[in-house]
Amino acid sequence: MTAAIQLHGVTKRFLTPSGTVYTALRDLDMTIQPGEFCAVVGPTGCGKSTTLGLISGLEPPSDGLVEVYGKRVDGIADGIGYVFQSDAVFPWKTVLDNVAAGPRYRGVAQREARDRAREWIARVGLAGFEDRYPYQLSGGMRKRVALAQSLINSPRILLMDEPFSALDVQTRALMENELLGLWSASSASVVFVTHDLEEAISLSDRVFVITAGPGTVKSNYPVDLPRPRNVAEIRLQPHFLEIYEEIWKDLRDEVLVSYERQKRGAA
């Protein structure tokens, strides 16, 4: 079986405005199977988001190879959905036109695109809000729009960059459960970047721990908790805590390294 996503020895360097080279990722290897829900955790600034940029094809790697379903990524890859950390829904489009944007861009006629958009809007629980503009919605509702906007294209791979980090705790748990529901109805592989280990474990099949920058995979842990899951309840299970403890030991060191560096940088 071909892996859904494969990164071989990927390095990503950026030129900073001051002219120095900054290495975000170094020699990173990662394999994600079709239909797998993977979480990527790591300290701030370890290149988690950069990884998503590489998989999506928004950014080319400086070194190494990125493959999606066995095909080398070269430009925006086909069948990718991307939910961004900050609001990336289009503020000048209504909810309906935001969700219909993907099909429209892919050449679907306006009427059909809108019909499909209505379906997805209902599926993410926003029926009745089709004509609103994003500024009229709450943060959680805007995330739902973003989810529908991505999922309407039936992506094979869904990339999520700390999508729920700006939400309050209750809304967040709600959205996490809904994401799991939507994901299980699809066959997409998910790469979910987060700095919240609890969120990572409760959602995913596998957790990748990334080292403090330059980032590389330190370890990966399978999460063998049963599905379907309720993210609010699963956190209380003893096995959840065992997994948490095991991964946290690994993650803690990296967080400390990153923290020390930041302190020194600030001093």
Binding site: Y82, F84, A88, F90, W92, Y105, S150, N153
Partner: protein, 293 residues
């Protein structure tokens, strides 16, 4: 039933607040009128009590140089009822309006096209930027003189002058607006499958629109300046020409009357542009206005 109850319960709470808001608005309007009466009254009174022709007389406001509100009103009345030296007043207003709107439209359209093109194309921007900055540094009203010679005394020269003034303002705003487009939105649109053309029309231009529309407020005023300056450089019709003629006749009431007309035109246009702005940028959260409730 319950719904009706809650409405009934909230109604009395809301109405004193609404009353207060209305009272405040009336107060604002009242004070505006008082301010106008005080200033115009002082001007009128100063001019009437002054005696500037006999040596040693008290001279506060010299009517000869500064006119007086009643004369200006008289002048406007005459213009509207009996016409001006150049013909019916409406013709003059219309001519100036045509020049202004023409210059405004031409300048805005060119400004938006160039602003978006340069904002989207790095090479073009880098090549052209010193020339544009240089052209912008010239006091641009002087091109009115050039156009008066090359394009003649009719409407073309005024439209050209006005559009040059408008162009740079709109251009810089459109350019900046395009440069400031949220990179996340661009990335999102690209992931969703937008090609370059769609990116420009559906993401970049709507995003830059709030910058562009904001610049239209200033640039309409500049278009009016361009049209009037164009008329001063040489014309046969228009409010600017009317002012110029009045000046030559030492008719300061005529100059003030022309200014009042221009101000009225600018205010009407401003209201139209605000309406346009609200229509174009419906998606923006309503901004807190001066009347807080």
């Amino acid at each position: 039933m319950r719904h009706v109850d809650t409405q009934a319960a909230t109604a009395p709470a809301a109405s004193p607040r609404r009353n207060r808001a209305r009272r405040y608005q009336l107060q604002v309007i009242g004070l505006r009128i008082v301010l106008a009466v005080v200033i115009l009254g002082a001007w009128e009174l100063g001019a009437r009590v002054s005696d500037c022709n006999t040596p040693g007389g008290v001279c506060i406001v010299d009517k000869f140089f500064w006119s007086q509100p009643s004369d200006i009103a008289q002048k406007l009345w005459t213009w509207f009822t009996q016409g001006t030296d150049l013909g019916p007043i409406w013709d003059q207003v219309l001519v100036t309006m045509e020049e202004t709107v023409g210059g405004f439209v031409v300048g805005s359209v060119l400004g938006i096209i160039f602003g978006v093109a340069l904002g989207r194309n790095r090479l073009l921007a880098d090549v052209l930027s010193p020339y544009i900055k240089g052209a912008n540094a010239i006091p641009r009203v002087v091109v009115g003189a050039l156009f008066a010679v090359s394009l003649g005394l009719d409407i073309k020269a005024k439209i050209a002058t006005a559009s040059v003034l408008v162009f740079f303002v709109v251009f810089f705003n459109a350019f900046q607006g395009v440069r400031e487009v949220d990179r996340n939105l661009i990335a999102n649109a690209r992931i969703l499958g937008a090609n370059n053309r769609r990116l420009t029309t559906e993401i970049v231009i709507p995003s830059a629109l709030s910058w562009i529309v904001a610049s239209l407020h200033t640039s309409f005023g500049l278009a009016l300046v361009g049209a009037v300056v164009g008329e001063l450089f040489g014309a046969t019709q228009g409010v600017g020409e009317l002012i110029y003629l009045s000046k030559n006749l030492f008719d300061t009431a005529g100059v003030f009357a022309g200014m009042a007309l221009l101000a009225a035109m600018a205010l009407v246009a401003e209201a139209l542009i605000t309406a346009l702005e609200n229509r174009l940028i419906r998606w923006r959260p309503p901004v807190a206005t001066e009347t807080r409730i």
